[in-house]
């Protein structure tokens, strides 16, 4: 255990390592997810035929969740804006909207959207709900304009904000987002791979490696302890990031609704991390120095991340590349994670997990058993 403990000391006592392992993946995640969020802002066209205090208030509140654009009452213009996706949807407030509302007549707004485009559904539902609720308030106020506006102001205050957060993501979208986030996490895991390389090569360069092998510590034991120390580091990394990230993202990201699912996500990630570490360990076990290992890892890293769908969805790639991507561990990882996030359990991901575990096992066996000169 001497090698193991010493390794942990070497890793955790260097602040830069903590930054690389924990902070960088989290920051990466925040960056990418905030880009997603920016896209989530709705572009809404407004045709306000009423031009009342009420419609002004509603439009004002909508700005929390949407960019609003004023339009003339011209169907042709609105249609082309919708088709060109300049706006996701358009809302027309009819004449006398406020007055009818105060008098308890429950007037309806008209909503325009491209039918196949579901982006606008949440906002459509929200606007409809607001209309109904204002109507209810109107009935209760029984024509008293001052009272009506008091109530409506109170009601509108923050409506969009809370409602927006509540239903902007469907279950599927949420999982897609979690998988994306795990893709960025995979980049962090690949850092680990370079890590495994660094310490072992450091030992080789300082001749400590060959010296250790003149002690009763066997090469297998030495490598196993190296492996274990990185798996421990990876476990810390995985548990911290997967439990911290949703908190930092303030509910906009979730790795499963139940503790069980989250635990499974952590496990899948850890298995992937182990495979990464095994790759790093094998590379550094057989390379003479940092330059060779660094070049090799760099060469492997990027394509594996790209092919595995960590940088963009796999579906965007041509069929041929997707088939090639079937052979990279990042693909197996994200597929397994998706299964688990859909609450299908670890059993549903057995094939991917077996591939990851098998890869790790083969690499570890090779680097433990193949005989080479241990002097560099």
């Amino acid at each position: 255990m001497t090698v193991l403990l010493n390794n942990l000391k070497r890793i955790f006592l260097k602040p830069i390592n903590i930054v690389l392992m924990i902070v960088v993946p989290i920051v990466l995640n925040l960056m990418f997810i905030s880009i997603f969020n920016a896209e989530q802002m709705y572009e809404v066209g407004i045709i306000d035929l009423d031009d009342s205090k009420l419609t002004a208030s509603i439009i004002e509140e909508m700005k929390i969740a949407a960019n609003t654009h004023e339009y003339e009452n011209d169907d042709a213009v609105i249609n082309s804006a919708l088709i060109n996706s300049t706006i996701n949807m358009a809302i027309r407030f009819p004449e006398n909207y406020a007055e009818d509302m105060i008098n308890g007549k429950c007037p309806k707004v008209e909503i325009y959207a491209v039918e196949e485009n579901t982006d606008s559904v949440p906002l459509t539902m929200l606007v409809a709900a607001i209309g109904t609720n204002c109507g209810e308030i109107g009935k209760l106020c029984d024509g008293d304009e001052d009272k009506f506006y008091d109530c409506v102001e109170d009601y509108l205050e923050g409506t969009f904000q809370t409602e927006y957060n509540n239903f902007d993501l469907s279950k599927g979208e949420q999982i897609e987002r979690a998988v994306n986030s795990l893709g960025y996490l995979a980049m962090g895991m690949m850092f680990l791979m370079s890590f495994a390389t660094t310490l072992l090569l450091e030992d080789k360069m300082s001749r400590v490696y060959s010296r250790i092998l003149t002690t009763p510590t066997t090469r297998a034991s030495y490598l196993l302890q190296h492996l274990l120390s990185y798996v421990i580091v990876a476990a810390v990394q995985v548990v911290l990031i997967i439990s911290l990230l949703p908190v930092i993202m303030d509910g906009q990201l979730s790795f499963g609704d139940s503790f069980g699912v989250t635990l499974q996500v952590m496990l899948v990630t850890l298995i992937f991390a182990t495979a990464c570490i095994a790759i790093g360990l094998t590379v550094s076990r057989f390379s003479k120095n940092n330059v060779v290992a660094g070049a090799f890892i760099g060469l492997v890293n990027l394509p594996v991340l790209m092919l595995g769908g960590c940088m963009w969805p796999r579906d965007l790639m041509p069929e041929g590349l997707q088939r090639v991507g079937d052979f990279v561990p990042t693909t197996w990882f994200l597929k397994a994670a998706e299964e688990v996030l859909y609450e299908n359990g670890l059993g549903a991901a057995w094939k991917e997990l077996a591939l990851l575990g098998g890869l790790a096992a083969i690499l570890i066996t090779v680097s433990f058993l193949v005989e080479t000169d241990d002097k560099c």
Binding site: T2, N6, S210, R211, T372
Partner: protein, 311 residues
């Protein structure tokens, strides 16, 4: 008993034979010196003996066991001071020796006292808390040794342990090797420095181009290999003719004049140095000073390989 026995030991790299059919026996309890110029194959030989290099051909027995089968048991009882410094520069001297002690299975109070002993032995106890990175070259060398002796090995390999060490530290290292040997440790010692080997080694093996070309005690090597005698003679009124005349005397194999001094090499089978001097005196040649050189390992090496050890 032989603590090391190799038979036809070969280490071959792609296009280069670094160790060439070496049969070596090292006896328990001795300090055995391995002498040879750069690239002779000393470190490669030791690498195979300590099990870090794969043996290409031949067999190695260390401590009575076959290294290819019982390497873990053997390793428990050997210590290895590598030619290049090998420890954790970021750790203190104390933590380093603790680390190596643990690798040899030491624990608890036993480990602590062993570490203290090793550090005191190498004179580093007072500086034990310092990061080894900041040590002087000589101190690093001593720490390199401390890490190898913490578990009190029966057999200690030292591959040029004094490179770059000032004479004073070197003497203290040599002194400690004598002490270790006195306490029962067998030592294999490689060096470029003749004086070191002459000072501490019971027997010496001379290597060149991967081959072990001579083995024996220093006296044996000298008497067996050095068949000629070496002397310098200072003569008053030295002349060119005189030098030429001496050069022509049968038995004189070399005669170089340097002003008043002659550098002479004779073959005692034909004429000894004494006979030569008697002859010169009888010819009334005015001899001012005589210096008969005792042959050393350096002479042995020169005779065997035709080159100086350190060129």
């Amino acid at each position: 008993m032989n603590i090391i026995e190799t038979s036809k030991l070969v280490k071959r790299y792609k296009n280069h034979t670094a160790v060439d059919r070496i049969d070596l026996d090292v006896r328990e309890g001795e300090v055995f010196g391995l002498l040879g110029p750069n690239g002779a194959g000393k470190s490669t030989l030791i690498g195979m003996l300590v099990g870090t290099l794969k043996v290409t051909e031949g067999s190695v027995r260390v401590l009575g066991k076959d290294i290819s089968r019982d390497s873990t048991a053997i390793k428990q009882d050997i210590g290895y001071v590598p030619q290049d410094l090998a420890f954790f520069e970021k750790l203190s001297a104390y933590d380093n020796v603790i680390y190596w002690g643990r690798l040899y299975g030491l624990e608890g109070p036993e480990l602590k006292s062993a570490v203290q002993e090793a550090l005191e032995f190498t004179g580093l106890w007072d500086r034990r808390k310092d990061t080894s990175e900041n040590f002087s070259g000589g101190m690093k060398r001593r720490l390199n040794i401390a890490c190898a002796i913490v578990h009190k090995p029966k057999l200690l390999f030292m591959d040029e342990p004094t490179v770059g060490v000032d004479p004073q530290s070197r003497n203290s290292i040599l002194e400690s090797i004598r002490k270790l040997n006195h306490n029962g440790t067998t030592v294999i010692y490689t060096s470029h420095y003749m004086e070191e080997v002459e000072a501490i080694c019971d027997r010496v093996g001379i290597m060149d181009f991967g081959k072990l070309i001579a083995v024996g005690t220093i006296d044996q090597l000298v008497t067996e290999t050095v068949k000629e005698e070496f002397a310098t003679i200072e003569i008053n009124n030295m002349s060119l003719q005189l030098a030429e005349a001496i050069k022509r005397i049968p038995g004189v194999t070399r005669c170089e004049r340097n002003q008043n001094v002659l550098d002479i090499q004779v073959n005692p089978a034909i004429m000894s140095t004494i006979q030569l001097l008697e002859m010169l005196i009888s010819k009334r040649i005015d001899i001012q000073a005589i210096n008969v050189e005792k042959p050393t390992l350096e002479t042995v090496f020169l005779t065997l390989t035709g080159k100086k050890l350190r060129d």
